[in-house]
């Protein structure tokens, strides 16, 4: 059984690595959760691959407070994301507590 992997993203310039690592981990049978905070919530609106990431990863969420702070309307749910995944920093806590391996990007 492959280990699970949680990725905490705070740098908006790392999206290609988020995708690459998620794909590689999924190919190994891993469960992957990704949480975007602060500047990195721009990825949800500006990265063409974001909807695909939502399909590939087991769980993708973004910090709704950060999203609002970056100037977006919280009712404007990014394509690919479920509305209930516009979430809080508790998602980061879940990554740390419940996933075997941790990566920040």
């Amino acid at each position: 059984m492959s280990k699970s992997l949680g990725i905490f993203v705070t740098n908006p310039d790392q999206f290609k690595h988020v995708m690459g690592i998620t794909k590689a981990a999924k190919a190994k049978g891993s469960s992957v959760k990704v949480f975007f905070s602060w500047d990195a919530t721009h990825n949800a609106k500006k990265e063409a691959g974001f909807p695909e990431l939502c399909k590939i990863a087991d769980d993708v969420s973004i910090c709704v407070d950060s999203y609002k702070n970056m100037g977006y309307d919280i009712d404007d749910v990014p394509e690919g994301l479920e509305a209930n995944k516009m979430a809080t920093q508790a998602q980061h806590g879940i990554i740390i507590e419940d996933y075997d391996c941790y990566l920040s990007l």
Partner: protein, 57 residues
């Protein structure tokens, strides 16, 4: 304890200092993400075998 240092950019003196202290007397590996085509497969293998992964700026 096995530490994996991942670098998103070339480490400056401050990062190098922290890496040195954190890795003292420990088993340390590294991976450079700041290349054109990182081997993500190899990186994930390293993450899965490390006790702690630190992804520096």
């Amino acid at each position: 304890m096995k530490i994996l240092n991942v670098y998103r950019s070339a480490p400056d003196d401050t990062t190098k200092k922290l890496v040195e202290i954190v890795g003292r007397d420990r088993d340390v590996e590294s991976f450079d993400l700041a290349v054109d085509a990182p081997d993500y497969d190899a990186l994930v293998d390293k993450i899965f075998t490390a006790d702690q992964t630190i992804c520096w700026w």
